[in-house]
């Protein structure tokens, strides 16, 4: 992919089945968008992981493993700061947004850490109910001089 020139604003939308076989392609797309706006490979990978976890939750909980679709909208900016804004909309069963939260990680057991990962990696993650059914997740992350270093340090704690 050709590297964008500074100050460029990028936006794309993709509509796809929420089948796990699609998720690797979506991760690769997110990594490309992140690195193009200045994120390191490591942070780009973490943002892709956050998107992946969100899609897994839509597939497992929203559509309960059945066929469904999601619409992913990605906006990136380079100036004045490098940032990525991601929106995922679905037509799945609506969830009580009060119940979408990280669990206590001191309780070591399989499952239930996807929301924690999303909230840890992204600057903000907001789940809302769509007016005509389904859910919308809006996330964003902005690069600061410390951002790329932050998660590197996190991984060594």
């Amino acid at each position: 992919m050709q590297k964008d020139t500074p100050n460029q604003y990028t936006e794309f939308t993709i509509d796809f089945p929420t089948s796990p076989t699609w998720f690797k392609s979506i991760r690769m797309l997110i990594v490309a968008a992140c690195t193009q706006c200045g994120f390191t490979d490591r942070v780009a990978g973490q943002v892709a992981m956050a998107v992946d976890e969100a899609l897994c939750n839509i597939h497992r909980h929203g559509y309960q493993g059945e066929y469904g679709r999601a619409t992913l909208t990605v906006k990136t900016t380079i100036s004045p700061k490098s940032s990525i804004q991601i929106q995922i909309e679905d037509d799945a069963q609506q969830m009580d947004t009060e119940l979408i939260k990280s669990r206590n990680l001191d309780d070591v057991r399989p499952g239930g850490i996807g929301v924690h990962l999303i909230q840890t990696v992204m600057d903000e993650a907001l789940w809302t109910k769509r007016e005509h059914g389904g859910m919308k997740l809006t996330m964003h992350k902005t690069i600061t001089p410390e951002t790329n270093q932050l998660h590197t340090e996190t991984s060594t704690q």
């Binding site: 089948s19 076989t21 998720f23 690797k24 992981m49 990680l105 057991r109 850490i113 998660h151 991984s155």
Partner: protein
């Protein structure tokens, strides 16, 4: 799209079993790893090593599979070791605060030796 099977190599060295998956372990693949690990865990080897050098990416479903295996081996009084973690796998384990829970070493040789 990604729809190929997860390649998993299994090697028995004395009382130790080394499991080496090759490829991303995400929601579409974690059930394959779980299906491979279950009969191995039933054998109750003294040590079960999962070599993750060829796993560039793992999601929370992959982590859940490893946590299950860890809990089973602990119940059995056996040893469960992860080795040679890629940067992507290190990242999710650290972000999940599981780096202090798993026994993690840098290489397969170290895992076999300890």
């Amino acid at each position: 799209m990604s729809d190929t099977s997860l390649q998993i190599n299994i090697e028995t060295i004395g009382e130790t079993i080394v499991v080496t998956p090759n490829g991303d372990i995400d929601l579409s693949k974690s059930t394959e790893l779980r299906a491979k690990l279950q009969p191995l865990l039933s054998q109750q080897p003294e040590k079960l090593i999962v070599d993750l050098k060829a796993v560039p990416y793992m999601d929370s479903s992959g982590l859940a599979t490893l946590i299950e295996a860890l809990q089973i081996t602990r119940q059995q009084g056996k040893t469960f070791v992860l080795c040679d973690l890629s940067e992507g796998v290190q990242s999710i384990i650290a972000l999940s605060r599981l780096d202090a829970i798993f026994d993690i070493v840098s290489s397969r040789d170290e895992a076999l030796a300890n």
